[in-house]
């Protein structure tokens, strides 16, 4: 990783729109990250844990029957095979180690699908840190197994009852907790969102996905993929896999958002796809869902991890610059892909990931696709079986 300063802005997006109380902590975090990422001891501890505890590098799998059906090679970057079942642990572990370096004994996190909460609870168990996870009460219902996992791991799960009781409110509650307890607490944000330095910090920690995948596909195919496809909630698995390909101009980058009940309805989670005026949510300026007066609109998605009215500022920048393209997939299409991929490949994907797979399945053109299989879908079984 480079030692250049951490980006506060991506074009006009990003920034630090937070209460003054947090400004000193953000500066402290930025300094700590600049020091840690250049520190051999930190790197080797993290790399060692990624290898032995998380199970990296994750495999790149040439999806057999999917490729046959689509008449083109489709590769899956198997982040579902990480310990805890998603890409989220890459970030949670890196930040938990950082918290330890900063002398913070208490960690808080927000979670939607519960995957980031489980990853954070896991890292905190490993590193003996106190852990509190905020989760919307609608999500504690629909992602029940993950609540139980977090509690077994020793974390305190605080259900949040406000607004739509989903990820937006969980994030707001976590930020308020941080404002109260900023001296003792590190906030492990779960995606490439939030005030600087978080979007860059989380991207740095997730970029291992793309670094591995790029090398693996070159080894396997002797060429780069035509497209790299990932689902986008806040956008961390997408930034993680995109980052290594940003300089490869012939590689298309496709971010798949939650189309919910359709982007022609208000019930979706696709601010990048729909466009419109940028706005501030959870500390940064980015693509968000808002009304004319600037009130945030509740998102909707069948997938708790994509059920969020904001998105990472670097994605808004990549969209505007034309480097990446953002599309949306509906609840129904995602559910169909969830079932199809499970049957075809023997891999049960997370509902979030099913959005990226649904878009890929729907393309009749193309030559070589690389899809980020961000997580496994065990957590979603009850929800999916009830709906189909």
């Amino acid at each position: 990783m480079s030692e250049s300063a951490i980006e506060h802005r991506f074009g006009r997006y990003g920034g630090q729109y937070v209460p003054e109380t947090l400004m000193a902590a953000l500066a402290e975090l930025e300094q700590a990250w600049v020091a840690a990422r250049a520190d051999v001891a930190y790197r080797s501890e993290l790399d060692g844990l990624l290898k032995e505890f998380v199970g990296r590098p994750t495999p790149l799998y040439r999806a057999r029957r999917l490729s046959q059906q689509l008449l083109r090679p489709v590769y899956l970057k198997r982040e579902d095979l990480n310990h805890t079942g998603s890409h989220k642990l890459n970030n949670a572990l890196g930040q938990a180690l950082l918290a330890k370096r900063m002398g913070k004994r208490r960690v808080i996190a927000e979670t939607g699908a519960g995957q980031h909460g489980v990853a954070t609870a896991t890292a905190c168990a490993l590193l003996d840190l106190q852990c509190v996870v905020y989760m919307g009460s609608e999500d504690t219902r629909r992602q029940r197994p993950n609540v139980q996992r977090m509690e077994l791991l020793g974390a305190t799960v605080k259900p949040v009852q406000a607004g739509a009781c989903t990820l937006k409110e969980a994030t707001s509650a976590a930020i308020r907790d941080w404002v109260e307890n900023v001296g003792s607490t590190h906030y492990i944000i779960g995606s490439v969102v939030g005030p600087a330095p978080y979007p860059a910090l989380v991207r740095d920690l997730q970029s291992v996905i793309g670094v591995e995948a790029r090398q693996q596909i070159l080894e396997r195919e002797g060429r780069l993929p035509a497209r790299v496809i990932a689902c986008v909630g806040g956008g961390s698995n997408a930034m993680g896999i995109f980052n290594a390909f940003l300089g490869d101009e012939d590689v298309q980058l496709i971010g798949v958002e939650a189309g919910g009940e359709g982007t022609d309805t208000p019930r979706h989670g696709a601010p990048l796809t729909v466009g419109g005026r940028a706005g501030v949510l959870h500390g940064s300026l980015s693509a968000i869902m808002q009304d004319e007066e600037g009130q945030i609109i509740e998102a909707h998605s069948i997938s708790a991890g994509l059920d969020y009215p904001g998105t990472g500022p670097q994605h808004a920048f990549l969209r505007d610059s034309g480097r990446a393209r953002y599309v949306a997939v509906t609840d129904r299409q995602a559910l169909d892909a969830f079932r199809a991929v499970t049957r075809l490949e023997g891999i049960i994907p997370a509902l979030e990931t099913a959005h990226a797979l649904a878009w890929t399945l729907a393309q009749s053109d193309g030559e070589l696709d690389l899809v980020c299989l961000s997580g496994r879908g065990d957590k979603d079984l009850a929800e999916v079986l009830a709906l189909t």
Partner: protein
């Protein structure tokens, strides 16, 4: 006081000067616009003025108020559900401004939505005196400050107990109207036993700026008010305690008037 500071906010400066000449701190109650309803919040604002508020801090209810604790967050949610809008709250500002200087408290995205310039111009047309944006720290405030200065609106910055000395100086130098000193590490809300730190906080704030220093967050009893004034604060902001009173009673205006009168007794002349 420098020229910019006074010219940006003559009414705010006058309000503090009057309180000062009466040897007391300025009384600065917070009003959640549109809570419980728009009409009743206007009655509450009038009650504030009658009890002797020197400045009213008028809150725009917001969907995602990160600097606020549960009471104000819930009041905002209720206000929005009752149909509160930015235009409605700006009408409150217009109605109250003739009797008392109004400082609007509003989250950044609401300011950005119509465009900073357009928002500040609209605000200025209501006769409001100032603007507080709790999620717009110094680094992000350049454009908003320029627009406010151009329209005679005081952009009031906040400092917190966690603000390091160099930042404090930079914020104090750009303060207009007054310097909003957050008394606690935390969100808005009532809490017990916090006045011990007031003296140190106010002294640091005063050393960093030429404008008056007001202290707020967590102040809920006459004793808190007294401690703030004794610590040297030029003004005392009370929020959650009053919002709670407004919500607890069917006659919100009478309820807040009673609480505010009590709090006023702490402003004292014994500084």
């Amino acid at each position: 006081m420098s020229d910019t500071v006074t010219s940006a906010s003559p009414r705010i400066a006058t309000a503090f000067e009057r309180a000062h000449s009466e040897s007391r701190g300025a009384l600065m109650p917070y009003l959640m616009g549109g809570y419980p309803t728009l009409e009743r919040s206007l009655e509450i604002g009038r009650a504030y003025a009658q009890v002797g508020a020197d400045i009213i801090e008028l809150g725009v209810p917001y969907s995602d108020p990160l600097a606020d604790g549960a009471v104000i967050h819930e009041a905002a949610t209720e206000a929005l559900a009752a149909g509160a809008s930015v235009s409605g709250v700006l009408e409150l500002a217009r109605a109250l401004s003739p009797s008392v200087p109004v400082v609007l408290m509003c989250y950044a995205n609401v300011v950005f939505a119509p465009g900073v310039e357009a928002f500040v111009e609209r605000l200025a047309h209501t006769g409001a005196a100032g603007l507080i944006v709790p999620d717009l720290p110094l680094e992000e405030a350049t454009q908003t400050l320029a627009a406010c200065d151009a329209h005679g609106i005081a952009l009031v910055p906040l400092i917190a107990p966690t603000t390091p000395p160099e930042r404090l100086a930079a914020i104090g130098a750009r303060a207009r109207g007054f310097l909003y000193t957050v008394s606690v590490v935390g969100t808005t809300g009532e809490r017990s036993a916090l006045p011990e730190r007031f003296t140190e906080l106010v002294a640091k704030a005063k050393a960093a700026t030429d404008v008056p220093v007001a202290i707020g967050f967590g102040i809920s009893t006459p004793e808190d008010v007294r401690a703030a004034v004794r610590a040297g604060a030029d003004g005392v902001i009370v929020g959650t305690r009053l919002v709670r009173a407004a919500g607890d009673s069917a006659d919100s205006a009478a309820a807040v008037a009673e609480v505010l009168s009590e709090l006023k007794s702490g402003l004292g002349t014994d500084r």
